[in-house]
């Protein structure tokens, strides 16, 4: 095999895809079915996932994810100069010899000259065991993976375009291959239609190399180029072609996989034709032709009688992706939080009402998003770390709003529940938002988690336990802030209702954390054959239970009161954070499906900040009581002032 021939085939691929940026609407494409990561998704979800994976964003300038994907697939040249690829680490850009961009996003045209260098660096990085790779190495591998995927996607429909490497000059060959007479450049697709003639030519050539005619020489050369082209085709994740592999079993292939062999080519000819028409119509700016071709494909998939082809949820999923309910809820919680702060400062009723209604509006989006996910995935709301954040947020917000309802109209505690609700919404949905930026969050489950019964009992109970403990922690913070505010210490009655809320939510947390832990034990007994194994995840849950029990018993026997409970619940929030995702960082035990490697720094930062806050609060309370004690020496204390000075003396 001549290297120059191979080089021609490999390098000639991308330039042939040149095409003008089409100005057509791709609405009809959004519900096309794609099999991606084990799940049949609408094209809209797939496009969002890929764009997030490439650029960490859900839009590319003015282009939506779907429009971007359409350009990558049908007219890749039109997107080559757009900043599509996120490179987080500037050292990677340096290593590739490209100027670091402020926004850390690079166009394919910028990266193309450095592809060989990137490949070399990636191979070096891949030789290092995963647990010893540094951030730069990991980033190099990530960027390399994205570029490979991009190139595969950009080459998806290359087979339909005429290419100079597929040149048939001799009329007798054009006639033999049933190609139109008026052109000499053809597409891979044109030639694959009569690949058997090329295969025969190649076979005959092996048997008889002497006395080769010019026509035979051209056919043999063409056959070799075709062979090399098939070898160089890169299967992409764009699995849009359903294939009945076995009775009752449907497999999905990408167009490049389908055109790679005569067997699949025959099976997929109608689908490939449909996609080819769509691609050509897109390139030509033919809106009607594009919609018609995509519509025909959607109808064909919709008519397949396979269990796997369940696309009834597609409209809801597209709506969910477009609405992005959690993001909207997050925005509304921010507004509610600001209005709540304003209410505490100005005490205007309208501010209180605004905050409440905005918070409720956020909750509607929030719960709507959760219900949509339940319907789409046909499983309970919490099945992954990402899903636990919105759920914990929703449960704690609901509980906080119940507390607000209980305290409605009471001047001393009005707004506390509302403040906690919006605060929990903002914090937890912001974290969820960060996780969502990593890609599609509607993931399939590993075998051991594939149990709707246990997901809806154990996981729900444990996460409700987390919610209540975190809410009690948030209330603990509020208690301490209020106790440290100037002038507040002289009004202990203002702290008492918050203390009651702290106690109530902690009891609630203990109840659900305990039941969730025990149900987890029963699931482990059903699944692994032992109720308890001191696994880190189990221990994390037990830590919450033990801490809550310790705190409640200490309060019951009078060892801690208001400040102790508030500090204890702040610490409880730390324990929850460790049990929730801290133990996942250890990468030990049977809960391997939850292991993660990122976020340790942020977690330790949070814990450090909380410990500092607790230390500061202790010091503040101590200083305050000291100052009061000093002033007490001047004037004999009354019974009331002692209770004010030492909040511990009163059971709040």
């Amino acid at each position: 095999m001549r290297p120059s021939l191979l080089f021609t085939v490999l390098v000639a691929g991308l330039p042939t895809l040149a095409g003008a940026a089409a100005q057509i609407r791709v609405h009809s494409l959004e519900k096309a079915a794609i099999l991606h990561e084990g799940r049949l998704k609408p094209m809209d979800t797939y496009a969002r996932h890929m764009l997030l994976q490439f650029s960490g964003r859900s839009r590319l300038k003015s282009l939506s994810a779907l429009e971007t994907m359409a350009r990558i697939l049908f007219t890749p040249a039109s997107i080559e100069n757009e900043p599509l690829f996120l490179i987080n680490n500037p050292e990677v850009a340096d290593a590739l010899g490209i100027a670091a961009e402020k926004r850390r996003r690079y166009a394919f045209a910028q990266l193309r000259p450095s592809l060989a260098k990137l490949e070399r660096l990636a191979r070096e990085a891949a030789d290092i065991p995963e647990d010893r790779q540094d951030l730069v190495g990991k980033e190099i591998l990530r960027v390399r993976g994205n570029l490979i995927e991009y190139q595969a996607l950009a080459g998806t429909f290359a087979y339909i375009l005429p290419d100079s490497i597929f040149r048939v000059e001799l009329p007798e060959n054009r006639s033999a291959l049933r190609l139109p007479a008026g052109q000499s450049r053809f597409s891979f697709w044109d030639l694959m239609g009569n690949a058997s003639i090329l295969v025969d030519a190649l076979r005959e050539d092996r048997e008889d190399t002497a006395g080769r005619s010019p026509a035979r020489t051209e056919l043999v050369s063409l056959a070799r180029i075709m062979f090399l082209k098939v070898q160089s085709l890169r299967p992409s994740s764009f699995r849009a072609l359903p294939f009945a592999a076995r009775p009752g079993v449907l497999e999905w292939l990408s167009p490049t996989e389908a055109v790679a062999s005569a067997r699949t080519l025959r099976a997929f000819r109608p689908d490939l034709d449909t996609w080819a028409q769509a691609a050509l119509a897109y390139r030509a700016g033919d809106q009607e032709g594009f919609d018609k071709a995509v519509g025909a494909f959607n109808d064909r998939v919709g008519n397949l009688a396979y269990d796997q082809v369940q696309a009834a949820h597609f409209p809801l999923e597209v709506l969910y992706q477009k609405t992005d309910p959690y993001y909207r809820a997050l925005t509304l919680y921010w507004l509610a939080l600001l209005a709540c702060f304003a209410f505490f400062l100005a005490r205007g009723r309208w501010l209180y009402r605004s905050s409440l209604w905005i918070c409720l509006a956020g909750l509607v989006f929030h719960l709507g998003g959760m219900v949509a996910r339940i319907v789409i995935m046909k499983r309970p709301p919490v099945a992954s770390l990402y899903e636990s954040f919105p759920f914990v947020a929703a449960a704690s917000i609901l509980a906080a709003l119940v507390l607000e309802r209980v305290n409605r109209g009471k001047h001393r505690s009005e707004g506390i529940g509302l403040l906690s609700a919006s605060l929990m919404g903002v914090i937890l949905l912001s974290i969820a938002n960060r996780y969502a930026a990593e890609g599609d969050t509607l993931n399939m489950l590993v075998a051991v988690l594939n149990s709707n019964f246990w997901l809806s009992t154990h996981v729900i109970c444990v996460t409700i336990g987390y919610s209540a403990c975190l809410l009690s922690g948030a209330l603990g913070h509020i208690w301490l802030f209020r106790a440290l505010l100037p002038g507040e210490a002289s009004r202990p009655e203002r702290l008492k209702p918050i203390g009651s809320m702290v106690y109530g939510t902690l009891c609630f947390g203990l109840l659900f954390a305990f039941i969730g832990t025990v149900l987890g034990g029963i699931w482990a007994d059903q699944s692994w054959g032992r109720f308890w194994g001191w696994d880190p995840k189990e221990n994390g849950a037990l830590l919450i239970v033990v801490w809550c029990a310790l705190l409640l018993h200490a309060r019951q026997w009078g060892y801690v009161h208001g400040p102790g409970m508030a500090l204890g619940t702040v610490f409880c929030a730390i324990v929850v954070s460790l049990a929730w995702f801290g133990v996942n960082l250890l990468n030990v035990g049977l809960h391997s499906y939850g292991f993660t490697s990122g976020g340790a720094f942020k977690l330790f930062g949070y814990i450090g900040a909380e410990l500092l806050f607790m230390g500061g609060a202790c010091l503040g309370l101590k200083l305050r009581s000291g100052m009061r004690a000093g002033s007490r020496s001047a004037a004999p204390p009354t019974r009331r002032s002692i209770s004010v000075l030492l909040p511990d003396a009163k059971n709040s």
């Binding site: 990561e37 084990g38 799940r39 039941i515 054959g529 109720f531 037990l542 018993h553």
Partner: protein, 381 residues
């Protein structure tokens, strides 16, 4: 069953009872438990679960952080259990408003008792079968035995010694074969080396192992492979030095009093009264991925003359005659039949967690409701 008030009062005022149920004891025990769980969890990352369990969660003392001596978790849990029982019997008032507390504390006590039964009586083992293979016994995960057996028709007559009960120097009489066995060394984890060509090893061994070298226990105890060296003394014959390594697939054949006997250092076997034959193993993946969505083993349960088809899959074990078979893992050796591994457990206390968790849940719920309703009434504007 509730003791009379006067008796309870006098018992409750006894100094010992007071000391046992003193709040400081409870709070200290809970604090220590918290510290142990936290430290034990971190310890696992470096030393594995087995070592952490032995050190932090078993019986005895542990130096937390290498500095603070604390009782280990099982001791603390016992202290809490005794205290819980004492509080219930002596102090907890018997009135409807305390029903929730009674239920939850009784449930908690049952849970702790269940944990104790599991810790002392439960047996965990496994069974790996290739498709078409039939299993009559299960094997331990990490406990080893020195086994001798002879074949009689279709069955093996086996007698075995727990490896853990074989300290160096111990002598065992094999009266059935008229010989004695004297232990010279036992390594819980070791490497084995073959003898060099032409250099006849001084020990009897089925696979040519001539030397074993002790090594540090592995992070996971299941990865330890032991080795043993013993002398077999048979009347009227010269003593035989036998070296066995746990990683050897074949047993050592011996002739003892004219009978052919096999000897092997192997993972402990637990014979079953029935057998299980794996007919098919099915792994289903999420389409287009390698991520498994389910594993299922189709098997035949055989006992006497009866054969029953059974299916064991994730989260759906087979329970039969006190044994529970869980779908644990699988393997597909190249060019060979698929193999399915079951975790097999017998646990007389397995129902206690179910009953106790129900009692604790009902108790806590009742207690909080009994407290919450008056709270709502009191707080109503």
């Amino acid at each position: 069953l509730i003791p009379r008030r006067s008796w309870r009062q006098s018992a409750a005022n006894h100094p010992l009872a007071k000391a046992v149920r003193h709040p400081v004891v409870t709070l200290s025990a809970l604090s220590i438990l918290f510290a142990l769980i936290f430290s034990g969890t971190l310890y696992q990352t470096e030393h594995g679960l087995y070592e952490a369990q032995k050190k932090f969660f078993g019986y005895g003392m542990v130096l937390v952080g290498g500095v603070f001596p604390l009782p280990s978790a099982s001791v603390v849990i016992w202290i809490l259990s005794i205290q819980l029982a004492a509080t219930m019997v002596l102090v907890l008032p018997w009135k409807p408003s305390k029903l929730g507390l009674w239920l939850s504390h009784a449930g908690l006590l049952a849970l702790l008792i269940g944990g104790f039964i599991t810790q002392t009586r439960a047996v965990e083992s496994r069974m790996t079968l290739a498709e078409g293979e039939e299993g009559h016994f299960t094997t331990a995960y990490q406990d080893w035995e020195l086994a001798f057996w002879e074949t009689r028709g279709d069955t093996n007559a086996v007698f075995a010694y727990d490896a853990i009960s074989l300290p160096a120097g111990r002598e065992i009489a094999l009266s059935r074969y008229g010989c004695r066995l004297r232990l010279r060394l036992y390594y819980p984890n070791c490497d084995a080396f073959a003898g060099t060509a032409g250099n006849q090893p001084p020990f009897l061994n089925p696979s040519g192992v001539a030397l074993i070298e002790r090594r540090k226990p592995e992070k996971e105890a299941v990865e330890n492979i032991p080795g043993i060296l013993f002398t077999l003394a048979e009347a009227g014959k010269a003593d035989r030095e036998i070296l066995l390594y746990g990683g050897e697939p074949r047993p050592l054949p011996l002739i003892l009093q004219g009978r052919r006997v096999f000897c092997q250092l192997r993972l402990k076997h637990y014979p079953l009264d029935f057998s299980l034959k794996l007919t098919d193993f099915v792994k289903t993946v999420h389409p287009g991925t390698r991520v498994a969505s389910s594993f299922a083993s189709h098997a035949e349960l055989k006992e006497g003359g009866s054969v029953r088809p059974v299916r064991i899959w994730m989260n759906n074990p087979l329970r039969y005659r006190g044994y529970t078979f869980f779908q644990s893992s699988y393997s597909q050796p190249e060019g060979a039949a698929e193999k399915s591994t079951f975790a097999v457990v017998t646990n007389p206390g397995r129902t206690l967690p179910y009953v106790s968790s129900l009692a604790v849940f009902a108790g806590l719920l009742l207690h909080f409701l009994l407290r919450f309703v008056p709270f709502l009434r009191r707080e109503a504007p």
